[in-house]
Every structure is written in structure tokens, then in C-alpha cells.
Amino acid sequence: MLEIKNVSKNFVLPKKKIKQAVNDVSFEVNPGRIYGLLGPNGAGKTTTLRIIGTIFSPSMGDVIFKGESVFGDPVAHRKRLGFISGNTGVYDRLNPKEIATYFGSLNEIPRKTIDERFERISEMLDMKDLLGKQCSKFSTGEKQKVSIARMMISDPEILILDEPTLGLDVITSRTIVDFINDSKKNGKYIILSTHIMSEAEYLCDDVGIIHKGDLKFNGTLEALHGKYPGESLEKVFFNLIGE
């Protein structure tokens, strides 16, 4: 189990001003279930995900994975973690295999395993046409496929997906969604942020609704619908954030 326990994050801005980006947030992510973090722009989604990925350290609170704080050995934690965001760039002058190999090596995956996995992943993501080409000329969707391949090369236990379908067309989004569902079947810990309600509706098992750093709701999707029967997720969302 992946537990986010009373996590807060304050950023120190210029002139000693403090920005409270995340405020006492707690929730759990379970294997084989998808946790969706929903919230408008600036809500604190990315900041929360970065803390779970040990890219930021929390001002307060802790992140516990299988009983141990992930900040105890952040390198070990990051090696079993895949991180993707909608804004993720790829290295323009490298080809997909070079990128995947690079990140595999950084996670100390043996070279042979990397080669085998890449073969399989590129097939699964239908990347035949992209292989051997430098990424500079790829479309947004093609780049996102490269990012997924880069992430899957380490076969991570935990997937952190920050608005993974940002800027993608329905077809490419479909590929990503299929991939997320596949990972779910394989028992991964999946946490995903989005501000697209319909996406959350058909993907997530558990949801957290975050607004201005506060977690307004945390529970299963059914529980959320039970609380506001008959209303669309969109409507529920506006009710919760009080606008």
C-alpha cells in the first residue's frame, strides 16, 4: 500500500512570501486500483505527485510505501516508479530506443532486459515507424508514446501520471488509456491527475478532489456518487469546491 500521510508543501517565494501549495493531504493508493487526483489549475496536483515521486520533499507529513518512508531511500523508491506528465518533453536528438535505454540504465536495469523489454513495448505501443528516428520531428502523441516506453522499460511498480492525455487526440488518448488499464490488471499502483471529469469517471476506482491545496473529498468513485446521487461528476466537483 502507498500511503500519503498529512502531506503539506509550502514554497518560499521571493521576498520571503510563503505559498501553501498543498495543505495536510492524506490518501491511499492500492495495487490494481487507479487513484484519480482531480482539481482545477493550480490546485496542487502536480506538487502532490512530485512529492510522491520524491522530486520535492514535503514541508510536513510523509509518504509510506509498504510500511517504509520513501524518503528514507529515495533512489530505491524512484527506481520502482514511473513518472509521466502531459508536459513531459523527450530528448529531440535521441531516438526512442536511446531514450528508453538511457532511463533503463539510470534505474540500473541490465542491458539485456532493456533490449528485450523494448522489443515488446514498442510492439505494444505500435511504434514501428518511429524506431531509429530522432524525436525532434515527432507529434505530441508520438512523443507521449516514447515517454511511455521510457517509463515501462523499468517495469515500475508505481505509476504516477500527471495529466497524461494532455493535448492528445482521441485515438492516442485511447492508447494511453488502454495502457493504464493494462497496468491496472498487472497490479500496479496507479495514481493519475486530471481535470477532465469524464476521463476520471471511466478510469478511476478511487478519487481525491483537491482545490487550493485542500483535499475536499477522498474515497471511492461509488462513494462520491452515493453522496451526490444522480449528479454528474462535473456537477459534484463544482459542489465540492463551492463555486
Binding site: 520524491t54 522530486i55 527506481k79 513518472f83 509521466i84 518533453g89 539510470l106 540500473e108 523499468s154
Partner: protein
């Protein structure tokens, strides 16, 4: 820090940056072609200037016809041609200003004879011409003195009663090396330093702007491993730039004709020592630009810090031009300044190993300080925050 991770990062960055045409251009092409062009241009220009001045007819104005006769007499043996113009005392300054004449000469005979020469000394061509003109006037003066002395039966050779003999024990080769010793440190420092700037910016804030840094930070590499891997790449690019520059300078000097004052030769050992002396400055500067770029929010901002900082490199790197400056316990401690003087002493074959050691030690220490600073800056949260 794990060696295999650092190597992985280093290899990837080298592969990535060497595919960047801009890097290849500024690292290899620019240094290789700029010196031959610069020196060939400089030599051609200097020669044409001297030739032009020596071939040109002197234009001299006067006011009084009696003066003219005198001036003509004085210049009758001169090795230049002269055109004379009659003018008035009111208009000759304008003639000089407009470069229609080079000189205006007044001759006056009282108890002594006086030639008053008016000209624009800020005009280099006129100044060179004045050298020739004054030589003719001095010859006339010597002739006059001899005539006066003869009246008292003083022999002609009274002029040679005291002589100065100059023996230049420096070989011609050494004179040429001196010129190289002045030029090379400055050029080499400036080029290798600018070689470090682009990769330092590109690998840090550039990667942030392209949106790949977050992924890298979420990988199994630690931030220090990332800094070291990227830093080594920056140093490598700077050293290759230095190598290309050094090669280009040495080959250009070698290919210059014997007669040229740029025709110095450098042996292989001197070449290697020079190269090793340039490495520390690439280390310092790579570390410094690296820290600055890590601190910056955008590539633009980084450039705006690095450019003025170049000033602090350019001035001390000119130390090699200042005659009389040598490495000693004090100058060996001034950063950049010491490397400039060290390179000069290497080229002149006068290197003192104690100062070599001090200069190297100090440079490595400085580089280490800036790297530690880069470590600190890379740990900040702002590293992946694009700002408001």
C-alpha cells in the same frame, strides 16, 4: 555517487550534444577557421598599410615663396615625392583637417633657423610620414652643424665620439615566440571559456525549458550524479574547443612565411603543456557557468548573467600582453591572470614548475567551490519550476 550512473549520464549528454550542429560549429569549426583568417587578414592589412604610406606622395603647404625654396632644398635627397601647395596662414589648418595636405611648414631664420611643422598627429599615416620628414630635416641640421664646426677645424667624426652598440642575443625565433606568447594565452582563454558557456546553459536550464528535467529527476539517478555527469560533458566540450583553437593557432603560425613576424614554431611538448594548462580554466568556467545556469529561470536569463561575466575573464586574460608581468607568489594567485601568464611562460619555454603547481591547485580549488555551489543550487525546488 555511483560511477556507472555518472558514466551513463555523461555518455548520453555527449551523444546528445555532439548531435547538435551549433555545438560542432562553435566547438570545432569556428576555432579552426578563425585564426588563419584573422592572421592572414591582419598580415595583409599591415603590409598594405605600410606600403601605402611609403608610396604615397607627401603633400606640403607653405605660405612664403622663400620658405618653399628652403623646404625644397632640405628635402632634395628625400626618398619620397612631394607636391607643394601655396596657401595662406588662415586656411592651412582647414587643409590639414580635410587631409588635402599632410604638413604645413614655416621656415624662419633669425639667430637660429626654425622649421615649424604643422600636422594632425592623430592621423597615423601622417605620423608615419612625419618620421620620414623629420629624418630629412635632421640630415639638413647635421650638415649645417658640420659646416659650422669646420669653421673651427673640428673634424667630422666628432659626431662618433660616443657610440652605442646593441647586440640582440635573442634569436629571431625567440622574438617571434614572444609575439605568440602574448597572443596565444588571451585567444586560448577566451575561446575555451566561450566553448563552455553553451553546453553549460543547454544542459541545465535548457533541459528544464524543454521539459525533460523532471523526468530525469524522477529517475534512479541522484541530483549530484546528474550534476557531475553534465559538468563533465561541459568540461569535455570546452577542452575540445581549446584543443581545436590551440591546433589552429599553432598550425597557422607554422604556415606563416619565414619573413612574417607571426612565423613562430611550437614543439609537441610545449603544445601538450599548454593544453594541460588550459584545462583548469575550462574547469573553473564550466563550473561557474553551470552554477549560474542552474540558478537561472530561462536560457535567456542565464545568457544575460554570463555575458557580463565574460568581462571578468577578458581583462585578466590580457595579462600576457603586459610587458614585465611574470608569475610570482602573488600573481600566481590571481585567477585567470595566472593562467594567462602561465601559458605565456610555457610558450616562451620559461615555465617555473612551482607556479605551474600553484596555478593548477588554485584553479582546481575554485572549480570545486563552484561545483559545490552548483550542487546546492540543483537541490532547490526552483530547479524544475518555470516561474510565474
Amino acid at each position: 555517487m555511483r560511477r556507472n550512473i555518472i558514466t551513463t549520464i555523461f555518455k548520453k549528454e555527449v551523444l546528445d550534444i555532439f548531435r547538435d550542429k551549433r555545438v560542432i560549429f562553435s566547438m570545432i569549426v569556428i576555432p579552426l577557421i578563425s585564426f588563419p583568417l584573422l592572421l592572414a587578414g591582419l598580415t595583409a592589412f599591415m603590409q598594405s598599410q605600410v606600403e601605402k604610406v611609403s608610396r604615397e606622395t607627401f603633400r606640403i603647404s607653405y605660405t612664403d615663396d622663400a620658405d618653399l625654396a628652403m623646404i625644397k632644398d632640405v628635402l632634395k635627397n628625400a626618398d619620397f615625392e612631394v607636391n607643394y601647395f601655396k596657401t595662406t596662414n588662415e586656411s592651412y589648418p582647414a587643409l590639414i583637417k580635410e587631409k588635402r595636405v599632410h604638413f604645413h611648414i614655416d621656415y624662419e631664420k633669425a639667430a637660429e633657423e626654425t622649421f615649424t611643422v604643422y600636422f594632425d598627429r592623430s592621423n597615423t599615416a601622417s605620423d608615419i610620414k612625419y618620421g620620414k620628414l623629420s629624418k630629412s630635416i635632421n640630415e639638413y641640421k647635421d650638415g649645417r652643424i658640420k659646416i659650422e664646426l669646420a669653421k673651427f677645424n673640428v673634424p667630422d667624426n666628432i659626431f662618433d665620439i660616443v657610440k652605442i652598440k646593441i647586440v640582440n642575443i635573442a634569436s629571431e625565433g625567440k622574438m617571434k615566440t614572444m609575439f605568440l606568447g602574448m597572443m596565444l594565452p588571451y585567444l586560448l582563454i577566451i575561446l575555451s571559456v566561450s566553448g563552455a558557456a553553451y553546453p553549460a546553459v543547454d544542459l541545465t536550464v535548457g533541459e528544464k525549458e524543454r521539459g525533460t528535467l523532471e523526468t530525469l529527476l524522477s529517475s534512479g539517478a541522484t541530483r549530484r550524479e546528474i550534476v557531475v555527469g553534465k559538468y563533465l560533458t561541459t568540461v569535455l566540450v570546452a577542452v575540445i574547443t581549446a584543443l581545436a583553437s590551440l591546433l589552429s593557432i599553432v598550425i597557422t603560425f607554422k604556415m606563416m612565411p619565414e619573413s612574417s613576424e607571426f612565423g613562430a614554431k611550437i614543439d609537441f611538448v610545449t603544445f601538450l603543456i599548454s593544453l594541460s594548462a588550459i584545462v583548469p580554466i575550462t574547469m573553473i568556467f564550466s563550473a561557474l557557468t553551470f552554477a549560474i545556469s542552474t540558478f537561472s529561470k530561462s536560457q535567456k536569463e542565464a545568457q544575460s548573467y554570463i555575458q557580463p561575466m565574460m568581462m571578468f575573464i577578458i581583462f585578466p586574460s590580457m595579462a600576457s600582453f603586459i610587458p614585465g608581468f611574470e608569475l610570482n607568489l602573488k600573481t600566481a594567485l590571481i585567477p585567470v591572470f595566472n593562467i594567462s601568464l602561465l601559458l605565456k611562460s610555457i610558450i616562451m619555454q620559461e615555465v617555473k614548475w612551482l607556479y605551474f603547481g600553484i596555478t593548477m591547485g588554485e584553479s582546481v580549488l575554485l572549480a570545486a567551490i563552484f561545483i559545490l555551489l552548483a550542487f546546492r543550487l540543483f537541490d532547490r525546488e526552483g530547479i524544475i519550476f518555470k516561474g510565474e
